[in-house]
């Protein structure tokens, strides 16, 4: 082999090795570290088991928000068909309101309550998280508003 060929071979081998390593890492990481997005109807339809982290999205049900001790908040997320109670300890986003879109991140506990570690609301008056729009459309409760 000429030095040039050897160099090319070394380069190709290194790239392939790194590519294989990265691909293995990526596959391994993608298997367990993605968060699925479910609407409240999905949660019931798909029997999401307790303890599996996911994101839930929908509207904050009217008259469902209640404050517990300290920074504890409880509310219900609904897509019009199904509802899931949510328990959260933390600061609510500025635009968190009853009847408005919300996305929460967390997992179900044994009793069917969604224990949220993060709550995100739409971040301006005109904006609705696309996942929430999608969830509402699928449950047939989406109304085009100006």
């Amino acid at each position: 082999m000429t030095p040039r060929k050897r160099r090319r071979l070394a380069f190709a081998v290194a790239l392939v090795a790194a590519g294989a390593g990265a691909a293995a890492l990526v596959l391994f990481a993608l298997k367990d570290n993605v968060l699925y997005f479910y609407s409240p109807s999905d949660v019931f339809a798909k029997h999401v088991p307790a303890g599996v982290a996911f994101r839930i999205g929908g509207l904050v049900a009217v008259h469902s928000v209640s404050h517990g001790a300290g920074a504890d908040v409880r509310f219900t997320v609904t897509d019009g068909k199904s509802s899931v109670p949510v328990d959260y300890r933390g600061v609510l986003p500025a635009l968190f309101r009853e009847g408005q879109g919300v996305v929460a991140l967390g997992a179900l506990d044994g009793a069917g309550t969604f224990s949220a570690s993060e709550v995100l609301a739409k971040h301006d008056e005109r904006y609705m998280p696309p996942e929430v729009v999608d969830a509402l459309k699928r449950s047939g409760r989406w109304k085009e508003t100006p």
């Binding site: 570290n33 300290g70 920074a71 300890r89 635009l95 996942e131």
Partner: protein, 636 residues
């Protein structure tokens, strides 16, 4: 009138860009000296007219000309002057105009720099002209900022308050200087393929450096803004929009290193060309991700399918065209001199392998949810755990090898000699790792490893400077030390951050990491275009008052939006970070506090990296421009 002047100037700019493209590409033929002069002149003209167009839009924004739709939608008479100016690029149309302005600045710089041969410069101008024309057409037909509104409203709708901030006024121009700077490297690469010039890497280097410096600072500014403005206490969220700026940075870093070898010994000639193409392609993909509205974030100004489609066509045109050119012309490129398995070239090769692998993992993590959604309709998100598992190990492996590169000679290096000079650095790293593991909590191997790695990089850089002296501006040593500083910040914040959240009535206190925070009261305050609830929080330590901090919540009536204004007290080695939460009943407020040890190092490190870039740029610009006579252009 202003709107019409801007519109007219932009149309003229389009004509000039087309002239630049045609004349520039024609000038790649040796005989067409006249075409080369025309290309250079139209590059200057392009800058003048795009500048005029941009000035017109800025004037309209500053003078509250609400008869222009773009100004009416994004400005407000009460908005402070600086945000009227920065608001020009705080929306989709204006930001695209800024993109073209930066592009024309680079194009004029290429015309004036006269690095590389006349033919190479001319072909590079031609490619830049093509890119500029494509973007101006995009602006004129899908995102015209000069569209009139009749009748004009008395008041504008205002700018997203999250964007009314100094960090975010500077962040987009900085990031664009980086993104578009990669288009200069791309133009030189394409020109090298067209003309089969050998010396393109040397000619393009100042532009690569400028782009890399701007990207580094731009990303750091964005991360800093997210830290103090969003109120979550974090500095990097692996948000797709953040990833869109990180990928070009990784590829630009790889390009800077591989082009060094290409320039010096001719090694990796084709690979460097590919990286230049990939870097600009990722800039375009980033623009697509951010601007098309497929992602929901502060950056997604508008979701208009035609825009996304046009950018997508532009991406495929640029990538496809460049790759076709590469496939056609690259096989004829001359190869460089051979190198031994232990050599500077091998070190740079490993650098490139790791950096591209890291960029690939980010790419997959960012695009996987989009692809899956469009194929199966399954909605999912890929978050920090994925990147911690993929990006982090690859980048750590890269950092481990960094100190070897500058110590190995070209073509044939001496590994033993390199190890000898690295002995002290290795000792310091071991001591640092063991000390962190033994004396701090929580006791984690990853944490100890991160600090050992940072010490390893820092000590190696110091050894480098001591060995070579300050006279030879130690660009590499500075840039590598900057990496170490950032790593210290990231590791410190991740390992030792404390967080507390309480609902407090005025007069009540909370504790965090040895500090006592007493909420004295929350008072109303009036800003120029917002009303604020302003908390007075007294910070005590061991019974002694340290400071009074004022976290705020601001309500912007014009935009009907609320923002959190954090209060941060920094001692460089640690940040005390307060964010005022929502109001609960009976005058209670939630107060969120973080202590982020070593957080400022994250951005300090980026600054040091950029300094390294400036050192390299400075030593490069001081060198004479003329090509060495020993490198005649190869015959066609």
């Amino acid at each position: 009138m202003t709107g019409e002047i801007g519109q007219f100037a932009l149309c003229l700019a389009l004509a000039l860009a087309l002239v630049e493209a045609i004349a520039g590409l024609a000038g790649a033929q040796p005989a067409n000296a006249l075409a080369r002069r025309v290309a250079a002149a139209s590059a200057a003209g392009l800058l003048v007219f795009v500048g005029l167009s941009f000035a017109a839009l800025t004037y309209a924004s500053v003078s509250d000309d609400f008869s222009i739709l773009n100004v009416a939608q994004n400005s407000h008479t009460l908005k402070p002057l600086i945000y009227k100016i920065s608001g020009v690029w705080g929306n989709h149309e204006g930001s695209m105009l800024l993109w073209v302005l930066v592009l024309s600045v680079y194009s004029a710089a290429v015309a004036w720099s006269r690095r590389g041969s006349e033919r190479l410069t001319s072909a590079a101008l031609g490619v830049q002209g093509l890119v500029a024309a494509a973007f101006i057409v995009f602006i004129l037909f899908t995102s015209n900022p000069f569209v009139r509104l009749d009748p004009a409203p008395f008041e504008g709708a205002g700018l997203n308050p999250l964007l009314q901030d100094f960090g975010l006024a500077v962040h987009p121009p900085m990031l664009y200087t980086g993104y578009v700077g990669l288009s200069a490297a791309f133009a030189y690469a394409a020109a090298a393929l067209i003309t089969r010039e050998r010396d393109w890497a040397r000619a393009a280097r100042p532009f690569m450096l400028a782009a890399w410096i701007a990207l580094t600072l731009g990303i750091a500014l964005g991360s800093w803004w997210a830290y103090y403005e969003l109120g979550w206490g974090g500095f990097w969220f692996w948000d797709p929009v953040e990833n869109a700026s990180l990928m070009p940075w990784l590829i630009a870093t790889a390009l800077l290193h591989s082009a060094l070898a290409t320039e010096r010994t001719g090694a990796f000639r084709s690979w460097s060309l590919l990286l230049a193409i990939a870097g600009f392609s990722l800039s375009l993909i980033g623009t697509f991700l951010v601007r098309s509205g497929v992602l929901s974030s502060v950056h997604a100004f508008a979701s208009d399918p035609t825009r996304g489609l046009y950018i997508l066509v532009l991406i495929f045109g640029a990538i496809g065209g460049a790759l076709a050119l590469f496939a056609w012309r690259a096989p004829g490129l001359e190869e460089g001199t051979a190198f031994a398995p232990v050599s500077r070239e091998t070190a740079l090769l490993l650098n490139n392998v790791f950096l591209t692998a890291a960029a690939a993992t980010v790419f997959i993590g960012t695009l996987y949810p989009l692809v899956l959604d469009s194929l199966t309709g399954t909605r999912l998100s890929v978050g920090p755990p994925y990147f911690a598992l993929t990006f982090a190990p690859i980048f750590f492996a890269l950092l481990l090898l960094v100190p070897f590169g500058p110590r190995l000679s070209w073509q044939r290096g001496d590994l033993r000699a390199a190890l000898r000079t690295l002995g002290p650095a290795f000792g310091i790293a071991a001591v640092a790792g063991v000390a962190i593991f033994a004396f701090t909590t929580p006791r984690t191997l990853a944490g100890a490893g991160a600090f050992a790695l940072a010490a390893w990089l820092l000590a190696a850089s110091v050894v480098d400077v001591v060995r070579r002296g300050w006279r030879l501006l130690p660009a590499a040593a500075l840039a590598h030390a900057g990496l170490a500083v950032t790593l210290i910040g990231v590791a410190g914040t991740t390992l030792w951050r404390s967080e507390a959240l309480e609902v407090l009535a005025p007069g009540e206190s909370m504790e965090i990491a040895g500090y006592t925070l007493r909420l004295d009261d929350v008072v109303g305050a009036q800003g120029p275009n917002y009303q604020a609830a302003r908390a007075n929080v007294t910070v005590l330590r061991g019974g002694r008052t340290l400071a009074v901090m004022h976290p705020e919540r601001r309500l912007f009536p014009a935009e009907r939006q609320e923002t959190v204004e954090t209060a941060i007290r920094t001692t460089i080695v640690s940040d005390l970070y307060l964010a005022l939460g929502d109001r609960r009943d009976a005058g209670h407020w939630t107060l969120r506090a973080y202590v982020n040890p070593l957080a400022p190092f994250i951005w300090l490190g980026a600054l040091v990296m950029a300094l390294g870039g400036f050192a390299a740029l400075w030593s490069r610009l001081r060198r004479p421009r003329a090509m060495p006579a020993a490198h005649p252009a190869p015959a066609e």
